[in-house]
Point group: C2
């Protein structure tokens, strides 16, 4: 039987990373591919205690249907967390979502018609490209350098492309690890305000800074109500719980809530209460400090090993936080081919291609430094450097 | 600032039921409105033990990212459950979703272009209407009687409307409580197969039968791979966990998986493992038997009290399972107005209107009998009957 799928499915495909992630389950492979936090740092005992308290004390409510907006006490906690980040908000301004992936889909639903333009960094988070692609949009990209997207380029782009919104990851961007400089944030915001451009600020990694000074989010500048701020507990508590949140002005948040209701009714009542209880009863700041320290060490080891082992012509970013660094290979190297060779040596990464809305970027690779142990990082980067040397020789 | 939302948002609105559900949090109100299971029947202690075992034994994996398809052992359990219902399938045929609301959105994504036609019962599940509406479709409805949708009407409808799929709830339908007769299922399936029509079979209530004999699902007849079967643990274990599943042929399931990934990456790893552990270590059949018995009693009490108290001219359905019955009021009664009066007497229900794709159905109301205690049912139906008497007098 010949099934008629929707038109949008012509451009929606399984990503390379998904296929790669299946391979990473083989234990002998060292993976720098996934965006996985270090599982040995999950606060398992505290979350177990939190789960026990929730189910003992309010078990029936924790297992019942609950409001689409989210569990009110957790909205309070996440508003407090957002205020600590410099965002002026209260519990009513918060929408709790099923991870911070979900609001990308929800924002697409409320803003995007077929043929609309979405503005992004290039490269950008691949699952954001996937989420927006389902709305049959076109992408325009903002040039970037080591200090993030070049805000000064925005006016010309906005006037030419008339984008529905700008999607940006200002802190320790996925995939590059780069951070948008403070002055550029101000410039970006004032341009967006001038043009009435909606900005989706995705901030999953902001808390994971191990060097340098915190820069306030775009949302902290948002006097006009044009910034939609997204964050998640995936990198600071645990991703398996799928708890994210949105801070947005009422008109936008209400529409997001309506489409969330049609998408999954609400986010797990139990997981929301576990996270609330954990944030209330345990020392989450001390926990995040441990993560920061560990990731800082892992980054330093990866950077040092890259310097020791990589052949000339390879460059990489030097992030001050987050989970990723981004390698630029010499002209002519195709990281899709490199990955096949790397697999033979039992080390993997993500080739750059899927991070570019136009599928360019064959010269790049993303390396994750949060998930592997220090010893595995040394061993894995050593293996990867061998693969890179071979590639350069083959090409020379 | 004037925000430009997507065109689809013109037809997407907050539902009446959401506004009503906010009111139900006042404890003095007796609610027949929500589709809530009885929370006093949730297996809280067993789920607590299951959660403790999961977090003790494999805490880190239970908190990590996991595959979009779902946790493999839970896919096994849900395949076994589906086989018990007569569906020939294995773990690979299962996609785990964030409740069984999510696959409505996902099916919309993979099948629906703007302007397409969706075929439904009328009335039907209001959040299915909402989910499909976001794809800017039109609805065509299949006539129904006490034995569910009248399959014989399908060929003319299919030829005239060229629908992308039929959405149906064969068991104890929401909102009517009606069940599609066995012979009609066979007729429906053979017509769908003849026309190559995709059928989305939504079966959240099938296990909640308290009278009569189980009828095999449409999916059990599906030699052609045209039926997408949806179910959930929301009514048999707990809705707050947001665990649903899909059984569908590979070509369809793969596409659903890709759009699920863009929608929320995956369903809560922790909740999936808790449900798996619960199904493996505890007696879920005995638990469902308790639910069945309780709901059967509550239905009987509601039906008896309706017979004792309602004025002439009101009719209602006599479901053999599920959570709802459906009241038809005399010509001229508007249940939206009735609801306002009922609120004054501190009893609520859902007016029929939102269950009809064309917003007709002002004569109907949906009553839930699973959530209120037997005493509250007697008291609440008594109050409702007074409101109905007043309405009939006012109208006479």
């Amino acid at each position: 039987m010949n099934i008629r799928f929707a038109r949008r499915m012509d451009s929606v495909h399984a990503s390379t990373i998904r296929e790669i992630l299946k391979v990473t389950e083989q234990p002998e492979i060292i993976s720098f591919a996934g965006g996985l936090p270090a599982p040995e740092l999950f606060p398992v005992d505290d979350l177990l205690s939190a789960a026990e308290r929730v189910l003992h004390e309010t078990g029936a409510s924790a297992l019942q249907y609950s409001p689409s907006e989210g569990y009110a006490p957790l909205r309070e906690s996440l508003a407090a967390e957002s205020r600590r980040r410099g965002i002026d908000c209260s519990a009513e301004d918060i929408l709790i979502t099923t991870g911070s992936q979900q609001p990308l889909d929800l924002a697409g639903k409320i803003f995007l018609d077929a043929g609309d333009c979405v503005l992004t960094e290039s490269p950008t988070y691949m699952a954001a490209i996937q989420a927006f692609q389902t709305f049959e949009v076109r992408f325009a990209t903002v040039p970037t350098d080591d200090h993030g997207l070049i805000s000064e380029e925005l006016p010309a782009l906005i006037e030419r492309e008339r984008p529905k919104f700008l999607y940006t990851i200002p802190n320790f961007q996925n995939p590059t690890g780069r951070t948008l400089a403070a002055q550029r944030r101000k410039t970006l915001y004032s341009i967006a305000a001038r043009y009435g451009l909606i900005v989706i600020e995705d901030d999953p990694y902001g808390c994971l800074r191990y060097a340098g000074k915190t820069i306030p989010p775009l949302k902290s500048l948002d006097t006009e109500g044009i910034v939609i701020y997204l964050s998640t507990v995936s990198k600071t508590i645990a991703p398996g719980l799928r708890i994210g949140w949105v801070v947005a002005r009422e008109e936008i948040r209400r529409k997001l809530t309506i489409v969330k209701q049609a998408a999954d009714l609400h986010t797990s009542s139990l997981d929301q209460r576990i996270v609330h209880r954990y944030l209330t009863d345990f020392d989450s700041s001390a926990h995040i400090e441990r993560i920061r320290q560990a990731y800082g060490e892992r980054y330093a080891i990866m950077d040092a090993t890259l310097r020791e082992t990589m052949p000339p012509g390879f460059r990489w970013t030097h992030p001050e936080g987050g989970m990723f660094l981004w390698v630029t290979c010499p002209e002519g190297v195709d990281t899709n081919e490199l990955l096949r060779e790397a697999l033979l040596r039992k080390v993997i990464f993500v080739p750059g291609q899927d991070f570019f809305p136009d599928s360019s970027g064959q010269r790049f690779m993303r390396l994750n430094f949060s998930n592997a142990s220090p010893d595995s990082i040394r061993e894995g980067i050593g293996r990867l450097a061998e693969v890179c040397k071979d590639a350069v020789h083959a090409h020379a």
